[in-house]
Symmetry: C3
Subunit: 437 residues, 3 copies
């Protein structure tokens, strides 16, 4: 069966090319350059920009920071698996490159101007954002899905995300500048729902390739550190310009710094002989960025942001240590990267912090609408993810068999590893291929 | 013979120091800080800037993006070879660091103000650009040339590039904002001409070190992804500010996104069992950035840019698969990194697209001048590269013998690899060296 | 003894959490968002900003460049050790995350406005700067200290740094825009003093893990190249806006470029058969950024900056080759990363260049005050470092025994390396742990 079903030769190229051609056609019909006239620059129509003389390139450095998070950050964060680095960074690139095009269309449909989507830097940032949901969900099913399945997930998840985002931001009028709810919680619970539907009993007792080696953990740290550094840009990119944007930067910067201390402390506390665990360091240090997202542009003061980061680092690390094994063994949710701990719980924490902060008057808005936004995000995620999972489960998309999970060689031409039977036939053949290529 | 000829002990340090001292002297004579008076900010004198109140640091974030492409992007992209990572990223740093100084002088000579080259951020961007031609050509001869040969290539190629650039931009008045012709096609065909002259029959049937291992392919992806992300900055850095620059960013962003899909699709289509090939992913995903360069600031609309990217991804991948082996076996052009597929053909495609776009009225200018610019770039590249190759072929520059090609240890002190006879004398000695150092 | 003393289980988490909670409390008392009223934007009150209409986010791209230098640059530069990559990048993250919070408080105390520290991007840049001193000193003692010792060093060093910085900048009124003296020389000699106090006779003849392997040297180059690229931001971030900032960028850009040539030339000159040594390339290429720091915003002209870079590259490389072994064997200063060669001597060179430049009228100020600033920085560093070293030497902080130095496995859960007894019990256990986690 695997000999047939995992062969990508026809199904992957045909799907990818058809999707791209349809997308180009839709761009031809709907997408034009922004002409600088009449665009409402921000998510939330209630907040006017306080800068009357913006240039169309003002947000470009912010966009590039977000771009780095999407492609280097998410891509390398997932390279921790010992034999799955090509897929992690490579399929991350594929999904994000397609997702940003699809996201631009799906988000743009709600904000058309005379039947056209007017493309500018803000729309590019939002397009990149929409792909983040997919990359989070990708983390939950990493190593257990084919590129075809993942392209299908990309289309469906971004479409559903765009509906929920429109509901939360434009209909409910809720605050979520750093997207704790609409990206992080949404992406995590969507992915967990997919993972639940795709549950593999054969992997209940683990898989020899579902782990890291020394160098793969180092590559993953490239992802972690770039995410960590640029998270202030993620949380402030679509904030109102000027002082509000500065507030979002400051809150995120100090929340992340506090989160590092608590993640390291708890990692050492729960591990044998007080040793640090790379899984915690790679992930839980980022939870402060997730959790402060909703409140990032609110007047919670730096120490408020730090408290949120401190708590996020604690619950994220404890989640990796104690909750993930339970989800896996008791609920059948096999969450490869632990996105529940990095994006799920901290995202919900961020949503709850937003409710409290609005109730305390730290920002305009309604606590009830904040709560509705959180509920909507979770609801769309769980139901959308379950439906998407069912579609992905159809046995025609080349899903890998259990024994080939977490292994690049199913979908990639993989060269030999150094030291491994040097000078063997395989090595010689590989060299030859590369030379010819 | 190799015992003598590849010894860099005198020839490399003397050449490097003399070049640097001459360069400093020339800077002392010609280069001063820009005083903000009377500089014409853009390549093309026909286009006035539409922002009357620019600050001298406005372009700095763009400059830094380009800087990352030159030093991380090109440097790590070439680390895919299993035993040539030190040279790839290290010699890349050397050539680019010297090249930007030389480029600043060579380009500045055409734009002197009272006998002085007035240095500003735009000139730094153009200096970085000029090094890109050398780094592209470096890719063609990677693993088969000595640092001394490469420094000589740097001087000659940047000098010739500056002449062609002046001709294309100032005399012909052609459009090439993203430099499909004057950098990418030029650098590729220059390098291919050098590679042809330096043809090594002994490598006709390949070389055991001319290939990747798993981790070297991962390092190369760092280069790929940084190039991919920051390419919009490359193509828009010297565009007219404001809306035109935004257009260049958008066109490049969507062209690259479309290119990813077609590169992945075709890679899967042409490989055994539909598997993806890392060589294609590392390179062909970038062809969309090259090919949209000339048209980047034109009103080709997003879908037009996407079509260019789609086609570029296809021809680049097919080139790696089918054309490179022919160039190598039939024409004696051994193109280590396949720059013909990443920069050569997509660069020509970009030039042709520019001719068509100008003919269709998408930008001011003349289709004939665009065609002349493409012809000039190819002509200077092929003739300049051939002459440069002949000079590099002189047997006094320490060129590596065939058996030592693609191996850092000829020009670098190389530590043992992990797992490889741990605790051996070599390992102990290395540790000791490092400690002493 | 090691069984007890290196166990971090209680001492590390308790210290980290207590420090963070105290820090949050101090933030609660002292730190608020900047409201844009009445802040003096620059270090030096004599220099007024020449831009009357700055936005609070103007410096944000500069901040992000500096941020990348601190977390990626320093973090990966130190990953050259074969078995110490987790600690290098991981403990770097820990120390910098705590240090920036502590630095913000310590530096802010000198500039309070109605009893409050008003946080803005400039203060964030300075907070990041303050951590650089710690990360430089970390390099001197890398591999030989516990996380607890290093947290203690962070608190003390940043506190002492803030005193010296206030003295140099506000009392003496000296110029040090790129911080050759107050960060680089200070951090290096502080670290060397600590290393002297912590002298380990047992490591006199080296340690088998105190060296690199091929891939660890590649990871270190990520750090080198990011530091190299963004150094112009480091040296110009707090310069007066406009033309002065441009001057600082240009001087640093050309100094670094010249430094690469001299570092490569001298490396080849002093090594066997003219080979390049990765230790030199990773470090000495950056000395030009350090040495031009004090003069970066002065009218020394590009060729003056290049001369400084040229000399810095030479003395740094020679220091690695000839001085470090003497410091180690004769003076008992075991400087793991050679910070004396990268930050110490080039920092002093920068201070001396500043004295000369001010004496020659290249900037406002007094040569005597410049000399006093250099002396103050060295004095605070040596005395502060010695005292800090004595406190770190108390046998209660879990310092590693000699045989466990330079080895992550003392403080980290370390996965097996690839190729190393694959399928062994250790590997299986590791996979299982990761799965559960």
């Amino acid at each position: 069966m695997p000999a047939y079903s995992t062969n990508m030769r026809l199904k992957f190229p045909i799907l990818a090319l058809i999707l791209e051609i349809i997308t180009i056609a839709l761009f031809g019909i709907f997408v034009v350059y922004d002409d600088g006239k009449g665009h409402d620059a921000h998510h939330d129509p209630d907040h006017a920009t306080n800068s009357s003389e913006t240039s169309p390139m003002d947000l470009y450095p912010m966009f590039q920071d977000v771009h780095v998070m999407i492609f280097i950050g998410f891509g390398f964060l997932m390279t921790f698996l010992k034999k799955y680095g090509f897929s992690s960074v490579g399929i991350n690139l594929l999904l994000a490159a397609f997702g940003l095009q699809w996201g631009l269309l799906m988000q743009g449909l709600w904000h058309m101007d005379k039947g056209k989507i007017k493309m500018d830097i803000l729309k590019m940032i939002n397009a990149d954002f929409s792909t983040a949901t997919v990359l989070i969900s990708f983390g939950a099913v990493l190593g257990k899905t084919s590129p075809v399945q993942l392209l299908i997930m990309t289309i469906l998840e971004i479409t559903i995300f765009s509906i929920n985002e429109h509901l939360v931001v434009s209909i409910l009028g809720a605050n979520d500048v750093g997207a704790s709810m609409i990206i992080h919680a949404f992406g995590a619970y969507f992915g967990l729902a997919v993972a639940r539907v795709l549950y593999r009993p054969g992997l209940r007792s683990g898989h020899e390739n579902d782990g890291s080696v020394y160098h793969s953990d180092m590559f993953a740290m490239i992802g972690t550190v770039f995410l960590w550094m640029f998270w202030p840009s993620f949380n402030s990119a679509i904030a109102d310009r000027g002082a509000t944007q500065l507030t979002a930067v400051i809150n995120t910067y100090v929340s992340l710094a506090a989160c590092v201390l608590s993640a390291y402390a708890v990692s050492s506390l729960v591990e044998h002989r007080g040793k640090l665990d790379m899984v915690h360091i790679q992930n839980a240090t980022l939870a402060g960025g997730v959790a402060v997202g909703t409140c990032a542009d609110m007047q919670i003061q730096p120490f408020g942001a730090m408290l949120i980061g401190l708590v996020a680092g604690i619950i994220s690390t404890l989640g990796f240590k104690h909750l993930s094994p339970i989800l896996s063994s008791n609920l059948g949710i096999q969450d490869t990267c632990g996105v529940h701990n990095l994006h799920g719980m901290p995202g919900v924490l961020g949503g709850l912090a937003g409710i409290v902060a609005v109730a305390m008057g730290k920002a305009k808005g309604s606590a009830a609408m904040q709560a509705a936004a959180l509920a909507s995000s979770l609801g769309f995620a769980l139901i959308g993810g379950a439906i998407t999972g069912l579609i992905m489960k159809l046995p025609i998309w080349g899903q890998p068999p259990d024994q080939n999970c977490f292994d690049d060689s199913l979908y990639w031409e993989v060269p030999e590893e150094e030291g491994e039977h040097d000078g063997s036939l395989a090595a010689a053949e590989n060299s030859k291929n590369k030379t010819e290529a």
